[in-house]
């Protein structure tokens, strides 16, 4: 048993769990033919059958049962704050499973030359009044009952009055903001706290204008919009939901990282010394001091950021993504690139931090401008 626990602790370290998820993701939601072939070959698509659901459910439950009987995991698991996260893990996976099951079902029908299931399915078409409103009323009542029972059984996690001198350690945001808090570990507040949230909201509103694929409209289908699925699922499941899970279960005192079965030692020492890119270049590489001119000091960072955000999409439009560019036109293409590249900047920055202890690519504290 301790072996399993140690293994879990080891696997859940952010470097490892994040890498595993990122590598596994294109196989689970294959965006290209090659990944699709592997997915078929290894039978990953079987996750989206009833049997798959059973095994997913069993393994998550198994994990939580071990956790419940573990003295340390029990503490984080049964905190009233964290119960929504456990519910979220189940419900998120269930919803994805359901969607994928329907999508694969339809894909098989389309392959056989039939129409998708929703084509002439009266089942999910009901009158708003009275049918839908009744369903909603019943759902509402059931949900109220559930919330009331929940609030009676588990007391609200209220704490003592705020005291500016005593910040709880660790200090956690409400659970739905833990993804943001995790991003803040890697970025300056104006980026992770302002620009990224705006981009997330505007970006999601822009999806219908950027995904102009007419196929798969009004019915579930994976293969007809697999790239879109992949990008969205990665952004949603890994860069948001998984970060919430990390923030809930794996972040302990001093915002250090702890495996689920590890004791939250407030004196755990983790070497985290970070260095800015400018220091890497000027001090470590060129063996000079930092130049006094701010722009000269951060030139490499500016080149990197501008190259990543603006030059790279231009080059891609001429080469690899030529078809996409022609199909989309310049405005839609650049919007897609801006949002997409900003999203992938998050994992990139996380890896730079983990691998090279890189603090900021552009670091100008004088102007409150750090990237």
């Amino acid at each position: 048993m301790n072996y399993i626990k140690d293994l879990f602790d080891f696997l859940s370290a952010p470097t490892i769990s994040f890498t595993l998820l990122t590598v596994a993701f294109p196989f689970i939601f294959p965006p290209t033919d090659w990944f699709d072939k592997k997915n078929k070959q290894w039978g990953i698509y079987k996750l989206w059958t009833n049997k798959g659901a059973f095994w997913i459910f069993m393994s998550i439950t198994f994990f939580f049962i071990i956790g419940y009987f573990d003295p340390y995991f029990n503490l984080t698991m049964t905190k009233p704050d964290n119960i929504p996260i456990i519910l979220m893990i189940y419900s998120m996976i269930f919803v994805i499973w359901l969607g994928m099951k329907k999508a694969y079902n339809n894909d098989a029908r389309l392959d056989r030359g039939e129409k998708p299931e929703e084509w002439n399915d009266p089942d999910d078409k009901v009158l708003v009044w009275p049918d839908l409103v009744y369903i909603e009323l019943i759902a509402l009542i059931l949900f109220m009952v559930f919330l009331i029972v929940w609030s009676i059984l588990i007391g609200a996690p209220l704490e003592e009055p705020a005291n500016p001198a005593a910040t709880p350690n660790p200090s956690k945001a409400p659970w739905y903001f833990l993804g943001l808090q995790e991003m803040l570990v890697y970025f300056d507040p104006w980026l992770a706290g302002i620009i990224f949230p705006i981009f997330i909201i505007v970006g999601m509103m822009a999806i219908p204008y950027m995904d102009i694929n007419k196929k798969g409209e009004g019915y579930y289908s994976f293969k007809e919009r697999r790239v879109g699925y992949f990008i969205f699922m990665y952004g949603w499941m890994v860069l948001w939901v998984f970060l919430i899970v990390i923030g809930t279960f794996f972040r302990g005192p001093n915002w250090n990282f702890f495996g689920p079965f590890e004791w939250w030692d407030p004196h755990k020492v983790v070497p985290l010394t970070n260095v800015n890119l400018s220091e890497y270049v000027w001090v470590k590489l060129l063996n000079k001091g930092l130049p006094t001119n701010i722009i000269a000091r951060e030139a490499v960072g500016f080149v990197a950021v501008i190259g990543y955000l603006f030059i790279m999409p231009l080059l891609l439009a001429k080469t690899k993504l030529k078809n996409l560019f022609e199909h989309y036109g310049p405005v839609r293409y650049s919007t897609l690139m801006l949002f997409g590249l900003t999203m992938f900047a998050l994992p990139i920055k996380m890896y730079l931090r983990w691998l090279f202890n890189l603090k900021y690519i552009i670091a100008i504290p004088e102007w409150f401008f750090n990237i």
Binding site: A165, T167, N169, P170, L184, V185, D188, P253, T273, K359
Partner: protein
């Protein structure tokens, strides 16, 4: 389909007769005035709400005791709760650090064993001098002005802040030589 139903109000057009143009304008202005009064009152009380009756704000400039009260090499956390400063004495003198994390404004803790200030929000770490070295904080903690009063006590003035990245730690007031 039955015949078109004509709304009652338009048949019985007598009802509006006794209201002439002047009377209408009169009522209209009374209505608007009442509305403006109510909204104005509401917003006034809203604005009043922004100014609390009592302010528990400690004075911005205060005496913290004599230089000898502070041990060399120690971070004094006594003033954290009331004034949000750490007072540190090293071999050369005394400085006062603001307890506001330069990342997003949480209050870090001084860890005696590790000899660092560590923020519980996103894990920024600062050395005893206030210089940032781990986590996302982009700049060192700010220092406040320290000086000696005529009675020999140290005065900390929090209205003056000195930022390292602007080279302000060189300024004499940011450090009390002893």
């Amino acid at each position: 389909m039955s015949e078109k139903v004509i709304p009652k109000a338009s048949i019985n057009s007598d009802s509006g007769k006794d209201l002439n143009r002047k009377g209408f304008l009169g009522w209209l202005s009374i209505g608007w005035l009442a509305f403006a009064g109510a909204t104005g009152g509401f917003f006034t009380s809203m604005i009043r709400f922004m100014f609390p009756n009592v302010l528990f704000e400690p004075p911005q400039s205060f005496k913290i005791g004599y230089p000898d009260d502070f041990t060399i090499g120690k971070v004094d956390t006594r003033f954290k709760k009331k004034y949000a400063v750490w007072v540190v004495r090293n071999d050369e003198g005394i400085y006062a650090l603001s307890t506001v994390c330069t990342h997003l404004g949480c209050t870090p803790n001084w860890l005696e064993v590790e000899q660092k200030y560590k923020c519980p929000c996103h894990g920024s770490g600062f050395r005893k001098t206030g210089v940032h070295f781990e986590g996302p904080a982009p700049r060192p903690l700010e220092r406040h002005s320290v000086s000696l009063a005529s009675d020999g006590q140290i005065i900390v003035d929090k209205t003056k802040r000195f930022k390292w990245e602007k080279g302000e730690w060189e300024i004499e007031e940011s450090f009390l030589k002893i």
